[in-house]
Amino acid sequence: MTSILLVAERDEQGEINQSTLQAIAAANGLLDAVVTVAISGEAPASASALAVEKIVTLAVVSIADEGIYDQATAEISALVESTSPEVVIFSKSDFGSIVGARLAFRSDSAFAADCIEISNDGGDGVSVTRPVYGGSALAEFEIASKPAIVTLRAGSYEAGNETGSPSIEAFDSGASVEQAASVTGTVAEARDGVRLEDANFVVSGGRGLGGPEPFSVLTDLANALGGAVGASRAACDAGWIDHSHQVGLTGKSVSPDVYIAVGISGASQHMAGCSSSRAIVAINKDADSNIFKEARFGIVGDWEKVLPSFLATVRELKA
């Protein structure tokens, strides 16, 4: 038997989010898995059909206690202490990355971040695989100590369609933390159209665009496809587009049907955020650039000459 505690997160509608459903699939793949899902606040109605053993609700008013997560860390630490799971799984989200790491170092437990695979074969401990060196290599680790605390990269597992009838109980950690650092405000970037992470089409631009103006052509293309605009870090760092559009290892993870990379060389750190796309389409003037090793369709050429006719034809096809 493998006892697993899985810390759930919600989407904007308050439902269990996709990454959590994927993590449940990963957890259920472990040997004789017995999965408990922890969630902050009242569980959404859909949770009662999750393919897990138990749901534990935490008192934390919002699991997003504002990017600092002192209260969430304290509550989840208390839950781990009282239930002694062998494995604790988080999503590799802002929340999971921080609380997972803090929990691990607070309890002197092993921590593996950004895993794409987790398994156990009945021996002692679990194995995890995580991309390293920006995704140029994969590393397989064995974790013998318990609990093993991991974060899972979105898209590494497919959400299953099994259902279950978990029991639901509340956990009162008794923790009430006075937060030393305090959040005084939030400034949100305006977004129009679909969320980058949810888009079925993503049109991304890189350093090869040469400046901020060409992003308006990418926006036209994204609009024609009903998609969103992404960017490489080089384009964001240059100030051509806001960092909230960055795709990659330290940006957003996207998995659209079609990912169109324009003037992007395809560095491993960029591909880390888009390699689970159904089809990658590359437009790059350098036939040797790495993006052509990752793409399904490509044009070796200057985006300035390729894009207008591509956009016009897309518009005709969509009309």
Binding site: G67, I98, G134, S136, A180, T186, V281, I299
Partner: protein, 273 residues
């Protein structure tokens, strides 16, 4: 305490790791699978992790804004290459402290955090600890977070802007679609992200000054740690380059405009658009 340090000086420790140059072309990135290590590419020297140079920049911006700061760069590892490690000094940092010990080859984050914590405590008083967002070798992005737990200090990650106000710092923390404004007390642990801006290039004067400075070196023994105490929690079993069997289908038209048109038609054919 260094020369010229007063009670008002804000002592900043910047954590910096020596890593293989992440701009190494993929064709030169090779692994020795018998030892599970990366083979250093010929003629590509290691560098200070990019985000850590951004953290140095963050500390220097505090100085530029008029604050009296002392900047100590601290690193844990072995086989340090001084040309790389002195770059923060050339940018304007005051001191370089290295925990240099052959027992620190290939360590995991649990060990790194433990050694960093011991070195920071040993080195003396501090007001702020800045780390990079993540190290470009193992991409763990949690050494600084772990350090905040071990030292029992407040943590703010993904900081893109900071300002000193007496005994606190005002921060901007990047979130997926914008940023939060946060006030944290001193001392705190902060991780710095590239949204802060590019690290400055060292000027000639900085390079000259750095060449005259000697790093202060601790061994594990100096920190009262025996290498036997450093038990990793993660055991590396296998390190390999994933195989890619993707075959790109290149679309070629009469000219580039024609290729663009054919691409759209091909995607429609595949029912992708």
């Amino acid at each position: 305490m260094g020369i010229g340090i007063t009670e008002l000086t804000v002592r900043i420790v910047v954590l910096a790791k020596q890593v293989p140059d992440p701009e190494t072309p993929p064709s030169q990135f090779k692994i020795d699978e018998s030892t599970n290590t990366v083979i250093p590419p010929n003629g590509v020297p290691p560098v200070v992790n990019g985000f850590d140079l951004t953290a140095v920049e963050a500390a220097l911006l505090l100085r530029d804004s008029g604050a009296d700061v002392e900047i100590t760069v601290m690193s844990v590892g072995s086989d340090f290459v001084m040309d790389a490690m002195k770059k923060p000094l050339a940018m304007g940092a005051d001191r370089l402290v290295l925990v240099d010990d052959s027992g620190l080859d290939n360590i995991d984050s649990a060990v790194t955090v433990r050694v960093l914590a011991a070195a920071i405590e040993k080195d003396g008083p501090y007001d702020l600890i800045l780390g990079g967002r993540q190290a470009s070798d193992w991409d763990q992005a949690h050494v600084t977070l772990g350090l905040s737990e071990v030292l029992g200090l407040p943590l703010v990650s993904l900081v893109q802007k900071l300002e000193l106000n007496g005994d606190s710092v005002s921060l901007q923390r990047v979130i997926p679609d914008g940023y939060q404004t946060i006030t944290a007390p001193l001392p705190s642990v902060l991780t710095i992200t590239n949204e802060l801006g590019e690290p400055r290039y060292p000027n000639l004067r900085g390079i000259m000054q750095a060449s005259r400075k000697k790093p202060e070196i601790f061994s594990l023994a100096d920190l009262g740690i025996s290498s036997d105490d450093l038990v990793p929690k993660l055991e590396l079993k296998k390190l390999y380059i994933p195989e890619s069997n993707k075959q790109v289908e290149l679309i070629e038209g009469e000219d580039e405009a024609d290729s663009g048109k054919k691409l759209a038609l091909r995607l429609r054919e595949e029912k992708l658009i």
